[in-house]
């Protein structure tokens, strides 16, 4: 195991699930805002974003550089960091695809929620290895508040 852990409140996780249900059968996406400290990494806010891949939204998502800059600015204004991204896999497992890996950045946490027939199912989180060869799983710790 990689030893990575991502903390997130139940309320924010519900919002990620709701976003995946809302955009089903298309993929949803958004930014994870929070803190990455010695004590651990925690999601403290979300910035839901529009999926810019209108040519293939059922199995692709894209966040433009302008939206990334917006997410960085929003994080700064809230005195948080942009620590990662979430997206949904409609009717597909919550595992990163080869396409995900090819387009991923190191360091960020990538939450994937599987939405099966419109219902949120498994949720996982991943980090890309330094050598880009694979993802390491990141445990998700759900906090009551």
């Amino acid at each position: 195991m990689s030893g990575y852990t991502l903390k997130i409140s139940q309320e924010l996780m519900k919002k990620i699930h709701a976003h995946g249900v809302e955009t089903y059968p298309h993929e949803c996406c958004g930014a994870l805002l929070g803190r990455d400290e010695d004590a651990g990494r925690e999601v403290l806010d979300l910035l839901p974003l529009a999926n810019r891949r209108d040519d293939s939204p059922r199995n692709r998502f894209e966040v433009t550089p302008d939206d990334v800059r917006l997410a960085e600015k929003t994080a700064r204004e809230k005195r948080l960091d942009l620590i990662g991204w979430y997206h949904s896999h409609p009717d597909a497992p919550a595992r990163p695809s080869e396409y995900d890996r090819d387009h991923a950045w190191p360091w960020y946490s990538y939450i994937i929620v599987s939405v099966q027939k419109g219902e949120p199912r498994d949720t996982t989180s991943w980090r890309l290895r330094d050598d880009r060869a694979a993802y390491d799983p990141e445990s998700i710790e759900i906090k009551a508040h």
């Binding site: 993929e27 996406c29 891949r53 293939s56 059922r58 199995n59 692709r60 998502f61 894209e62 966040v63 433009t64 550089p65 990334v68 800059r69 960085e72 960091d81 942009l82 620590i83 991204w85 997206h87 896999h89 409609p90 009717d91 597909a92 990163p96 695809s97 080869e98 396409y99 995900d100 387009h103 991923a104 950045w105 190191p106 360091w107 960020y108 990538y110 330094d130 050598d131 880009r132």
Partner: protein, 94 residues
Amino acid sequence: MSVKVMIPTPLRAYAGKKDSIEVKAGTVAEALTALTSQFGDLKKHLFSDDGRLRSFVNVYVNDEDIRYLQKDQTAVREGDTISIVPSIAGGARV
């Protein structure tokens, strides 16, 4: 010419944990070469195997995307800021 290159959070671990690096360069290409000569681990995250900028790596000079300028041959002047901005992509199936 001394220019500042802004490093996005996911790449700071490969750039001495700094959020910006000063380099001497006359063009964007020279600045990125100077940056990756100094921090070799950055190379694989910025460039693909054929040496071209990865498609999801975006470079801005001040607030302008270099795709709408002269791409990596865009000239830089003393005091300019070059920003490396990720775009994010993925999806369920190949």
